[in-house]
């Protein structure tokens, strides 16, 4: 199974994702913001990164760009619920444009998440 880094600023959502992924047999690390997420990424080089887009300090778009600079091979899944005038779709389109291989609009169910992971790791 894969080594997955989850970057998500909502603690509860982050824990839920981690638990779901562990149950599905993956090895999981978490970070509660983009800056911490990049630090974790350098230390552990995961197979897959799942990142939220709308986050304080460093948003998911910046995170994806930085990760791709360090390692162009790594697979990334972007997740977003949208904010203010921005729809989840707009965020996810932008993420896909800069290299996220899969995108998921929040809220998604387990089936959708596991399917996206399988497709991303193919």
């Amino acid at each position: 199974m894969a080594k997955i880094l989850v970057i998500e600023d909502d603690t509860q959502f982050c824990q839920m994702l981690a638990q779901m992924l562990i149950q599905a047999g993956h090895e999981v690390e978490t970070a509660l913001n983009g800056v911490l997420g990049l630090e974790r990424f350098r230390q552990s080089i995961p197979d897959l990164v799942i990142t939220d887009i709308m986050m304080p300090e460093k948003d998911g778009i910046d995170v994806i760009v930085d990760i791709k600079r360090q390692n162009a091979e790594v697979r990334i899944i972007a997740i977003s619920g949208g904010r203010r005038a921005i729809t989840p779709q707009f965020n996810l389109d932008s993420a896909a444009l800069i290299g996220a291989v899969q995108v998921l609009a929040k809220p998604f169910n387990r089936e959708q998440l596991l399917a996206a992971i399988a497709a991303a790791l193919e």
Binding site: M16, M20, G81, P107, N109
Partner: protein, 353 residues
């Protein structure tokens, strides 16, 4: 409130007294009083024709006081106070009109900015809701794994999932209200096509007690918009009309093209002069009371009972029209049945997509 004829008589007596005093003393003071009278006529909402009547009566009275003077001569000498009354009347009338118009525009702008603030607010919290719903869905699904298949607990948790999915759809609609221009999705749409498609669908869904009438003045008019949003706009307005009529009555849809200039544009303070597509939908329902007329486009505002409506329909319509660069107004006379929504959207000049 005095009846109009009593008020007219009081003014006529005041005017004749004034004219007599002017005839006898001819002072500047009487001309000032004449101007005051003219202003009062406007505030009492008496029509200008009455002034002519007053003058006729005054002439007859004065001819009796001064029988030796010819009628022409009397009329000549009474011209200055008449001019004062007419000028004051005209100025006061114009001022009243302007105040009325400014008040109308002010109310409209206030409503527009309030709606914008609410839109921003509601879509701001939508993101957090999506995340929270994700947590609810995720943990519920994981818990389901550990529960026997045909247990009550399982059925209950499945209802939690269904409710969370419904909440997700609701959030998507809130986001649709707050969304700004999304240029890439806007393509030329022939309004007549959107209307025909929706009406075909609606006719198959509605009870026979609701009849739909379509009046298309010009089929070849186009707007820039999103096909599904246009469809939602028509459907939401229709559902609103059906609710207002308690599912019994007539709905009239009409489509034409109009041009706004400085004059006709006064009804549409948010729009600049130019060519517009006008879409109107009129029902034979209960109408809209003035108390709620300026709140109906607010998200979550509803006159339906709790649980019957989300109160998002008309706010979504408002958002769609705004994004198309258009404006919407409600035409509903207090005390009159039925309401009409009138929508203007910029006319797309090209005829082909």
């Amino acid at each position: 409130m005095l009846s109009e004829s009593v008020r007219v008589n009081t003014f006529r007596e005041d005017y004749i007294r004034l004219i007599k005093d002017y005839w006898l003393h001819g002072s500047e003071e009487h001309l000032i009083q004449a101007a005051e009278l003219g202003k009062r006529l406007v505030h009492e909402e008496l029509p200008p024709e009455e002034i002519g009547e007053f003058q006729q009566f005054a002439l007859i009275e004065l001819k009796q006081i001064a029988p030796a003077t010819s009628l022409d001569e009397v009329a000549n000498r009474l011209t200055p106070p008449l001019i004062e009354v007419l000028m004051a009347y005209g100025l006061a009338f114009r001022q009243q009109l302007q105040e009325h118009y400014e008040l109308m525009v002010g109310k409209h702008l206030e409503q527009a900015s309030r709606l914008e603030a609410l839109g921003t607010l509601s879509s701001g919290i939508a993101h957090d809701f999506n995340t929270l719903l994700g947590v609810i869905l995720g943990y519920t699904e994981m818990t389901l794994d550990r529960i026997p298949h045909d247990s009550v607990a399982r059925q209950n948790l499945e209802q939690v999932i269904i409710a969370a999915q419904r909440a997700r759809d609701l959030v998507a609609r809130i986001l649709a209200f707050g969304r700004r221009d999304d240029q890439k999705r806007r393509t030329p749409q022939r309004m007549a096509d959107s209307l025909n498609e929706c009406l075909t669908m609606l006719r198959s869904m509605l009870p026979p007690s609701v009849t739909l009438h379509l009046h298309i003045d010009q089929p070849e008019i186009w707007v820039l918009g999103d096909a599904s949003e246009l469809q939602q706009l028509i459907m939401d307005l229709t559902v609103n009309a059906i609710d207002a009529m308690a599912e019994r009555g007539e709905i009239h849809f009409s489509l034409d093209a109009i041009t706004l200039d400085a004059d006709t544009g006064q009804r549409w303070p948010d729009l600049s002069p130019g060519d517009y597509v006008r879409f109107r939908i009129r029902d034979t329902g209960c109408g809209v009371s003035p108390q709620i007329a300026n709140r109906i486009f607010e998200p979550f505002f509803t006159t339906k009972d709790v649980g019957e409506g989300t109160g998002l329909g008309l706010s979504v319509v408002y958002g769609i029209v705004k994004r198309m660069g258009g404006a919407i107004r409600l035409n509903s006379e207090p005390g009159q049945p039925g309401a009409e929504f009138e929508i203007l959207c910029p006319r797309y000049a090209g005829s082909e997509p």
